[in-house]
Amino acid sequence: MADTHSLFFGDQDGLKTPWQILGFALLVLLLMGASALIENNVNPYVQRIIVNCGIGIILGLSLNLVNGCAGQFSLGHAGFMAVGAYVSAYLTTVLMPFGAFFQSDLGVGTAVVAGGLAAGLSGYVVGLPSLRLRGDYLAIVTLGFGEIIRIVFLNISAVGGPRGLPGIPLASNFFWVYLWAIVTFAIIYRLIHSSAGRAILSIREDEISSQSMGVDVSHYKVVAFVISAFFAGVAGGLFAHYQGFIDPNTFNFNRSVEVVIMVVIGGMGSLSGAVIGAVLVTMLPELLRFFAEYRMVIFSGLLVLVMLLRPMGIFGRHEIWEASWFANLKRKPKP
């Protein structure tokens, strides 16, 4: 039957379209069930953590496409998240003429997608400099773009400026967040395991030979940035409609770093690694709640330690189900 593995990863012959649709429907049903179960039986505090994990997963997966797969170091992910959050929240909260529509689930969904598209557009703008810059320089420029986006929102009074934007309809929940997380995973996984995805990976491996083998390097760098920014924007939209309130400071540099840590801990280029990294990074502060003041110290210390002791992250570039990652654990990082 339509087991989830072949649904997303495909087997030798592939699943026929009707089965894919059926599998997807089944998954939605499953999620609805889980959603009902969690909403009725789990205390709100834990629920909140679970949903935040889901948002983290979308962020981690999307950043992984640029940082882990395309090998471009972006430090401005919070900026894309901010664009998605503000655009979608603006649609559902401020834009009155369509008020009724944007209060519905469908409306919020549309707003979230619109936020994603706006973020994708900003990803295009940020992706352009990546054509000329690499490494540290690119990191700094993306950091700069992220901060500039934040400063721009700080100065737009229509969305509250520094006071923030309150009263956003609380429309996103476990179901929507995890549906998007699964969609994000499936899309990025399938992209990476396609011809275009191999082109993106080849850029990470060696840009010069990549272009010499006919890959339009500039094009695929921008593609990676746009897709990555789109999902970051979606995560932002979901976040806004879960919190009910956003302000520019929510999307500061620390948020970008948090997402980078997710990807780094999980292993750059490993999708399942990014998922686990996202869960760890979201849970850790909660687990360290009793040492609240040590939290950020432990966090940043952890980042340094991971880099020193296990520079390729937990899973390296492999997925959990790829047996070789286990052997990889024992392999010393090559100088």
């Binding site: 495909g10 012959d13 592939g14 699943l15 379209t17 894919q20 899309i187 399938r190 992209l191 395991h193 396609s194 011809s195 275009a196 995805g197 191999r198 082109a199 990976l201 080849s202 491996e205 060696d206 010069i208 030979s209 990549s210 272009q211 010499s212 083998m213 006919g214 890959v215 339009d216 390097v217 280029g269 570039r317």
Partner: protein
Amino acid sequence: MSASSAKEVLKLNDVSVSFGGLKAVSQFGISLHESELCGLIGPNGAGKTTVFNLITGVYLPDSGTMDLDGQNLCGLPPHEITKAGIARTFQNIRLYKELTVLENVLVSYHMRKPYGYVDALLRTRQYYAKEHELKEHALRLLSVVGLKNNPDDFAGSLSYGDQRRLEIARALATSPKVLLLDEPGAGLNSGEKVELMKVVSKIRDQFKVTILVIEHDMKFVMGICERILVLDHGELIAEGTPKQIQSNPKVIEAYLGVADA
């Protein structure tokens, strides 16, 4: 040689480039014919790799013309030149080390856009059919260069000689009209070199591709090339059959220096 009767494929005219006042290549001109196997030799620093970098668009020539089957190549970005039909290998191996051997070859098919994003995301029949077809084709190429045994190993884990072969397979996968090999024999032992000579000749015969090869090993060049070009200080100083080159005084001078210098 019947070279003159065959169709002209790649033609360079008066190509020059200089870096910071230093003329790296000056007024270089060649014309390669269909399925010709041609060698490019010269002392270290003669500008051989620079010629490759000019042809493949890594460097832009200061002057001169380059065309492939009548299509102008000057000013095209490297990936467009590859699409036009020129592929290369690198002197300092540049594989995608953390991709598998098979994936290294598969990347080269991408420029022909085997299927679109929708096929990839929905995993349509087209996706599976094309992926299957590409893999088959890649495996065939791998077996031509003698690498069919472990397509799923990481490229970085291959032995040096195998890495050089994989570079050739990867370049071939772009279906080039002209294949540029930059010191394919460097670092190989004599046994491996003999193997490589066979592979290179076989590729030329089987794919009817024009090959221009840079190589220091004279046995290699003299053994398989029909025609040899000699470059020194960025200038073409001799051109001819292996026999003619061997007895050309200018070539001997370039390599050994003038007798009383």
